[in-house]
Amino acid sequence: MAENHHLHRDDRHDLSEEELAALKARMEEPAEAGGQTKRLVRVDRLLSETPMVGPSAGFALRVMAAIAAMELPEITRRRLTTGFAVGLAVAALLVLPVLSGLVIVVASAITNPGILNAGFQVVANGIGYSAGLITDVGESLNKAVSETPMLPALLTTVIPITMLWVWAVWYLMREPRLTPDQQDVV
């Protein structure tokens, strides 16, 4: 090989410029290909010699805890679904006769003009009575406010206190939440 290079070097003056360029390219080719292979081998070595990394201690336990936590709502949901279906069936059995009777009464009322007229009368009376009742309550309130100046102040105090009381009841009745530490474990 070295002898060949020596021969080429001796003959260089007899080559055209184009031939010289081609020769140069050919002579450089193996070195370049070798360089590329070396670069890729280096990548291969780096990746192959980098060890696997493992999770932190207790990972498997955390996964199993998450699976257990995932399963609980599923079981509850299934129980709820079964209970709901049975309850619905029982309710339907109880309600069906009442509903049938109601449909028969309504149908007979609609087909009888006398009953229909009486029905309208009852509705009209009911509306009139309700309007009268609302007016009376309004008048009573107006009278009470004008006669008792402390009533508006009392109302404005009672309303926020009631809201606070309702919130406190809700807060105490709700499900306990997990602390951050417990959440980490799950």
Binding site: Q36, R39, L40, R42, V43, D44, R45, L46, L47, S48, E49, T50, P51, M52, V53, G54, P55, S56, A57, F59, A60, R62, V63, M64, A66, I67, A68, M70
Partner: protein, 195 residues
């Protein structure tokens, strides 16, 4: 033998023995976590992703084809999940944080402090290099180098052709070589040149 055991454990899990699935988790936690870590480059997120992969595997265990390797199946679940996370991350992240330094436990099985330092340095370098690859290329590289899967297995996992995988791996290696060349000279580089 391990494959046989895996199938038995899967069957026991399907019969209601949750402990059997715990054994599968212990057996493959390192493989699944390593894949997630190499893909996501963040330990906390990698643990979340690995846990999610196991939860998905558990929920869909009845769909697992017991003639195939359980390890490959759970790795493919983890791969898909990581790709999803990276897509979501691309949509939501405005800026990328610096990669976190590897956990000290990484070097736990390395005897000397010098070698431990080199392993840490190697891990950081590898993660930096992988971070610059597209998720598809990164996944092909991780599956090939850390799990020693064949082109056919990787192609099956990623639902593509063998030639596509070969092409991805070739381009990924070239990109990694270019990046590696542009890295500043360090003790790791010296060690690699020497070996």
């Amino acid at each position: 033998m391990s494959e046989e055991n895996d199938v038995l454990l899967v069957q026991r899990t399907l019969a209601g023995d949750q402990q059997a699935f715990g054994e599968l988790v212990q057996r493959y936690e390192r493989d699944v976590f390593n894949l997630c870590y190499r893909m996501l480059n963040e330990r906390g997120e990698a643990e979340d992703a690995a846990q999610e992969a196991f939860l998905r595997a558990y929920s869909n265990l009845d769909r697992y084809d017991q003639t195939r390797s359980f390890k490959t199946w759970v790795l493919s679940i983890a791969s898909n999940h990581c790709i999803d996370r990276l897509r979501r991350r691309r949509l939501t992240w405005l800026s990328l944080d610096e990669p976190l330094p590897p956990h000290p436990a990484l070097a736990s099985d390395i005897p000397g402090p010098e070698e431990a330092a080199l392993t840490n340095e190697r891990n950081i370098l590898v993660q930096e290099l992988l971070e610059d690859l597209s998720p598809d290329y990164r996944l092909a590289v991780v599956l090939r180098y850390w799990y020693d899967l064949s082109y056919a297995e990787i192609a099956e996992m990623l639902e593509t052709t063998e030639s596509a995988i070969k092409s991805r791996l070739f381009r990924a290696r070239q990109a990694l070589a270019d990046q590696l060349e542009s890295q500043p000279l360090s003790s790791l580089n010296v060690a690699m040149e020497g070996s």
